[in-house]
Amino acid sequence: MLISVKNEKCTGCRLCILACPEPNVICFNPKKKIVNIDPDGCKVCRLCIETCPEEAIESTDVAI
C-alpha cells in the first residue's frame, strides 16, 4: 500500500500535516503550494486520507 498526493487536487491547506502522527513525512512545498508525502516514513494509517477535504490523497496497492 502506498499513499500519494494528487497534485492537481491539492490546495495546500495543510490539514493532512496536522493529522499525521509521523514526523517529517508530509512536507509542504511553498513554491508549488502543495504537499508531498515521503513513502519511507509512512505507516499507512490513512488519517490524512480521512482528513483531506479535497480528496486529494489516495492509497494504491503496490506489489512487493
Binding site: C20, P21, E22, P23, N24, C27, V35, C45, R46, I49
Partner: protein
C-alpha cells in the same frame, strides 16, 4: 541547548548523519516556529516506533512543535507509550521511575532556577494517564499543592496501552479492554477538577483532533507555569490498538468525545492577555 552547541564542528560536516545535519540547518531552535509552520521545517522527532494511527504520537508531535523555546525546555516523562518515543526527541528529556516524574521535575526546576536565575528554563512533565493519575497521583498532587512552576501535560489514552491494555483510572466506566474483559467498574477520575482545586493557575482539556487550539494551550500552559504557578493540560489521544478501531478513525473518535475546557485564574488571564497568545 543553544543552537551553537548543536552546530557541527568544522571538519565533521561530511560524516555526521544527514538527519542531524538537517536538524542543525533547518531545525526549529531559536526560530519561534509553531504548529502553523509544520511541514516546512525539520521536526524535533526523527521517527518513532509507536503504532500506525497513534493519537499519542500525534499529540507529542504537535506539542513539540508548539513549545515556545524547545532549546530551553526539559521534558520529564515516565514509563508508558510516550517513553518509547522520547529517546528520539531532540529536546532534553529525562525518563524517571514510574510515577516519580513530578517529584523529579520539581527538584530539577528549583535547581535550574538557582543555576540560571535570569533565564527561563521550562520544565514540562509529559506522561500518560497511568503515570499521572494512577501511579504518580501523589507526587503530581503535591507539586500542585506546593505551587511548583511546572507544566503537567497528560496524554490521556484511557488505558495502559504499552503493557497490553489494562484499565486505568482515566478509562471510562464500562470500558472493555484486553486485560479488563468485564469492563471498568468506576467512573473516570476527574483530573481537571482536581487540578483546579489543588491550585493550578491554568487547567485545560483538549483532544488531539484540535491541533491549533492544542498548540495555543501548550503555549499558555508553559507561559503561566514560568511566571505564576503549576499548570495542567489534558490531551485526549484515542488508542486504535487497544480500543480496537481502524487507524483512520483516531481523529474522528477524538472529535466525538472531545471536551474543551479552559480554566484560567485571574492572575494568569492578565498574563495571557499581555503576551497575546
Amino acid at each position: 541547548m543553544k543552537k551553537n552547541i548543536a552546530t557541527i564542528s568544522p571538519g565533521f560536516e561530511d560524516i555526521m548523519p544527514e538527519e542531524y545535519q538537517d536538524l542543525v540547518n533547518d531545525g526549529p531552535y531559536g526560530r519561534g516556529l509553531g504548529i502553523k509552520n509544520l511541514g516546512t521545517f525539520k521536526e524535533l522527532i526523527e521517527e518513532h516506533p509507536l503504532c500506525a494511527g497513534c493519537g499519542l504520537a500525534l499529540a507529542i508531535r504537535l506539542t513539540a512543535a508548539s513549545l515556545p523555546a524547545p532549546e530551553d525546555t526539559i521534558i520529564v516523562g515516565t514509563t508508558g507509550c510516550n517513553s518509547i518515543l522520547m529517546p528520539q526527541l531532540a529536546i532534553h528529556n529525562i525518563h524517571s521511575l514510574f510515577g516519580n516524574q513530578s517529584s523529579l521535575a520539581a527538584g530539577l526546576k528549583r535547581a535550574l532556577k538557582l543555576r540560571y536565575p535570569d533565564k527561563n528554563k521550562d520544565v514540562v512533565v509529559m506522561a500518560g494517564d497511568g503515570g499521572i493519575a494512577d501511579i504518580g497521583l501523589s507526587p503530581t498532587l503535591h507539586t500542585w499543592l506546593r505551587r511548583e512552576n511546572l507544566t503537567t501535560i497528560m496524554l490521556d489514552n484511557e488505558s495502559y496501552s504499552n503493557t497490553g491494555g489494562q484499565e486505568s483510572g482515566m478509562s471510562c466506566e464500562g470500558a472493555v479492554l484486553n486485560m479488563a474483559p468485564t469492563g471498568k467498574k468506576f467512573p473516570k477520575i476527574p483530573m481537571p477538577e482536581i487540578a483546579k482545586d489543588s491550585g493550578c493557575a491554568y487547567v485545560a482539556t483538549v483532544s488531539v483532533a484540535n491541533a491549533r487550539r492544542l498548540g495555543r494551550m501548550v503555549k499558555r500552559a508553559i507561559l503561566v507555569a514560568r511566571e505564576i504557578g503549576p499548570t495542567y493540560l489534558q490531551i485526549f489521544v484515542p488508542c486504535p490498538t487497544n480500543y480496537k478501531f481502524s487507524t483512520s478513525e483516531t481523529l474522528k473518535r477524538a472529535k466525538e468525545r472531545e471536551k474543551i475546557m479552559e480554566y484560567i485564574s485571574s492572575e494568569a488571564e492578565k498574563l495571557i492577555k499581555e503576551a497575546n497568545i
